[in-house]
C-alpha cells in the first residue's frame, strides 16, 4: 500500500501542471492550427476554408503594416534601452553616494502598470499643452506632434516604453557589471588604458550574457506591444502605431474573425521564435 502510494505521489504532485499544460497550452496550440484552416465567428458553425486564411494573410496590407510597425518599435526601443541602461548602470557602479535612491527612482516605472504609464505619457505628449511641448516652446523650439504625426508617433511610444522598462535593465546590467573580475581592470590600469577603453574592451565583452538576456527580454516584451497603442492612439494616426498584437486583437474581438486572427497569431508566434533564434545565433558568444 505505502509502496504504491510512494509511486503515485510524484504524479499527484505534478498533476496540476499536467492538467494546466493540456488545457491551456497543448490543446490551444493544436486548436490554433486547426482554426487556421477555418472561418469562424464563434457563434455559428466552423467553416473549412483550406488555405484561405493563409492566402489572405499574405495579401493583408494592414497586417504587414502592423508587422513593420512592431519592428520599427523594436529597432528604436532596444538600442535606446541598451545604451541608456548600460550608461546608467556604469554610472551607478562607480563609488557614489545615494546609490539606493537612484536605483529605486529608476525602477519606479517598472512596477507600475503599463496602463498608468500610458495615460500619464498621453498627457505629457499632448500637442497643445503637454509638458514636453511646453518645455520645447519655452526653450524656443516649435511644438512636436508626438502622437499626431504618423512619422513620429511610434517613436514616441518607443521612447515611453524605454522609460517604463529602463530601470529593470539598469539593475540587470548592474548585476552583470559586478561579475566582471576586478583584476582585468587593474591589469588594464597598469597598461595605462583610459576609462572608455576599459569599458569597450573589457566591460562590454564581459557582460555579453547580460546583453544577450536584455535583448531577448526586450524583444519578447516588444513583440507583445498592445496596451500602449490601444490606449494612446488606437493604432493611429494612419495606422502608424498599429502593432501586430493590436491588429490580432482587433481581428478577433472587433470583427470576430476567429480563424483569421488565430492564423495571424500562429504566423506571428513563428516570426517571434525565428527572430529570437537569429538573435541567439548572432549575439550570444562564449566567454
Amino acid at each position: 500500500m505505502s509502496n504504491t502510494r510512494k509511486k503515485i505521489m510524484p504524479y499527484v504532485m505534478v498533476s496540476p501542471y499536467l492538467v494546466h499544460l493540456l488545457a491551456f497550452t497543448t490543446f490551444p496550440v493544436i486548436f490554433s492550427l486547426i482554426l487556421t484552416f477555418h472561418k469562424w465567428n464563434i457563434i455559428g458553425p466552423m467553416e473549412w476554408v483550406e488555405f484561405g486564411n493563409w492566402k489572405r494573410l499574405f495579401y493583408d496590407r494592414l497586417f504587414w503594416i502592423s508587422i513593420f510597425n512592431t519592428f520599427k518599435f523594436l529597432s528604436i526601443h532596444i538600442p535606446l534601452q541598451i545604451i541608456i541602461a548600460l550608461a546608467l548602470a556604469e554610472f551607478l557602479n562607480q563609488n557614489i553616494r545615494l546609490k539606493g535612491f537612484f536605483r529605486a527612482a529608476f525602477f519606479m516605472p517598472v512596477v507600475v502598470s503599463g496602463v498608468v504609464v500610458t495615460i500619464l505619457w498621453q498627457q505629457l505628449f499632448s500637442f497643445e499643452n503637454g509638458v514636453l511641448n511646453r518645455l520645447l516652446v519655452s526653450l524656443g523650439f516649435g511644438k512636436v506632434g508626438w502622437l499626431i504625426d504618423p512619422d513620429i508617433a511610434m517613436v514616441s511610444i518607443a521612447v515611453m516604453a524605454t522609460w517604463k522598462n529602463l530601470g529593470l535593465y539598469v539593475i540587470l546590467f548592474l548585476v552583470g557589471l559586478q561579475t566582471v573580475p576586478k583584476q582585468y581592470y587593474e591589469a588594464a590600469d597598469l597598461d595605462g588604458a583610459s576609462h572608455w577603453q576599459k569599458f569597450i574592451k573589457i566591460t562590454v565583452p564581459m557582460i555579453n550574457p547580460t546583453m544577450f538576456m536584455v535583448v531577448i527580454l526586450s524583444t519578447i516584451g516588444g513583440f507583445s506591444l498592445f496596451i500602449e497603442p490601444y490606449i494612446m492612439t488606437g493604432g493611429g494616426p494612419l495606422n502608424s502605431t498599429l502593432s501586430a498584437v493590436l491588429y490580432i486583437y482587433k481581428q478577433a474581438f472587433q470583427y470576430y474573425h476567429m480563424g483569421y486572427s488565430a492564423t495571424l497569431g500562429v504566423f506571428f508566434a513563428f516570426l517571434i521564435v525565428l527572430v529570437v533564434i537569429v538573435q541567439k545565433r548572432y549575439i550570444e558568444k562564449d566567454i
Partner: protein, 272 residues
C-alpha cells in the same frame, strides 16, 4: 579633474532620477488640481481639490474593481505558490518516470509566445461559460512555469538531511514542503509571490478579452476602458485620477518593500 568628473556624474544621475520621478509627481498634482490648471501645471496647482476623484467614483465602480483586482491577484498568487511548490518539489526531490520529460516540456513551453494560444484560450473560456466570471481570471493563472523552475532550483539547494529527518518523524510529502522546506526558502517565496502578484495586478489584455461586465472588471481594465471609452469626457483630471488610483497600491507596496521588488524583478533575468 576628479571633482569635475564627480560633479558630472551626479548631475547626470540626478537628471535621470528627475526624469523618472517628475512625471509621477506631475500626475499626482494634476489629479488634485482644477481642470483649468492642468494645461499650465508645472509643480503645484493654484489650489488642491479632490473633485476629480469624486467625479471618478461617481462614474465608475472603482471600489468594486479594486476589490476584484485584489481578490484575483491574491488567489492567483496564493494558489500558484502552492501548486508551483508541489511541482517544483516533485521535479527536484522525487524520482519518477517522465521527470526529465516534464522538465523539458516546461522549458519548451516557456519559449512559446503567448500570441499562439491567445485566441484558442479565449474560445475555451467561451465554451466553458467562464466569460464574465472570476474563473477565467484565475484558473488559467494557477500554474506558472517560471515559478515552478524557481522552486525546483530552491528545493534542489536544500540538504537531503532536512527531508530525511522529517520523513523519520512521519511527515507526508505535503507537510514536508509547506512546513519543513518553505521556512528555509523564504527569499524564493517572496520573489515568486511578488512576481505573481505584480503580473496578475498589471495584466490587462486578458481581462479585456474575457470580461465584458463591469462588475467583474479588474482595476487596470476598468481604468483603460474608462479612459479610452470616452466616459471620462476628455476631462484630463479625472483620467489622471483613475491612473493614480490604479498606481497607488503598487507604488505604496514598492516604497515599503523596494529591495524585494528589485531583487525579484532582477531574478527574472536569471532563468538559466
Amino acid at each position: 579633474m576628479r571633482v569635475l568628473k564627480k560633479i558630472l556624474l551626479y548631475t547626470l544621475l540626478s537628471g535621470a532620477a528627475i526624469t523618472f520621478i517628475y512625471p509621477f509627481f506631475w500626475m499626482i498634482m494634476a489629479s488634485l488640481s482644477p481642470e483649468a490648471d492642468i494645461s499650465s501645471l508645472v509643480l503645484f496647482p493654484s489650489k488642491l481639490t479632490l473633485s476629480n476623484y469624486s467625479t471618478m467614483v461617481s462614474k465608475i465602480p472603482i471600489g468594486r474593481a479594486l476589490f476584484n483586482s485584489l481578490f484575483v491577484s491574491s488567489v492567483n498568487t496564493g494558489l500558484s505558490l502552492i501548486f508551483s511548490s508541489m511541482v517544483g518539489y516533485a521535479l527536484s526531490r522525487m524520482e519518477f518516470k517522465g521527470r526529465n520529460l516534464i522538465f523539458m516540456i516546461i522549458i519548451f513551453t516557456m519559449t512559446l509566445p503567448f500570441q499562439i494560444t491567445l485566441i484558442p484560450n479565449y474560445i475555451i473560456m467561451v465554451k466553458l461559460h467562464w466569460v464574465d466570471t472570476y474563473l477565467s481570471l484565475t484558473i488559467p493563472f494557477l500554474i506558472n512555469t517560471f515559478a515552478i523552475l524557481m522552486f525546483r532550483q530552491a528545493f534542489k539547494s536544500l540538504p537531503q538531511a532536512l527531508i530525511d529527518a522529517a520523513r523519520i518523524d512521519g511527515c507526508g510529502e505535503l507537510r514536508i514542503i509547506f512546513f519543513i522546506l518553505w521556512p528555509n526558502i523564504k527569499p524564493t517565496i517572496i520573489t515568486v509571490g511578488i512576481l505573481a502578484f505584480m503580473g496578475s495586478w498589471n495584466e490587462v489584455l486578458w481581462p479585456l478579452i474575457v470580461i465584458r461586465e463591469e462588475q467583474f472588471m479588474t482595476l487596470p481594465q476598468l481604468v483603460t476602458l474608462f479612459v479610452v471609452g470616452g466616459r471620462a469626457e476628455s476631462q484630463l483630471g479625472v483620467k489622471l485620477a483613475s491612473a493614480v488610483f490604479l498606481a497607488a497600491p503598487i507604488i505604496i507596496a514598492y516604497l515599503f518593500f523596494q529591495k524585494h521588488f528589485i531583487q525579484s524583478m532582477a531574478s527574472t533575468g536569471l532563468k538559466d
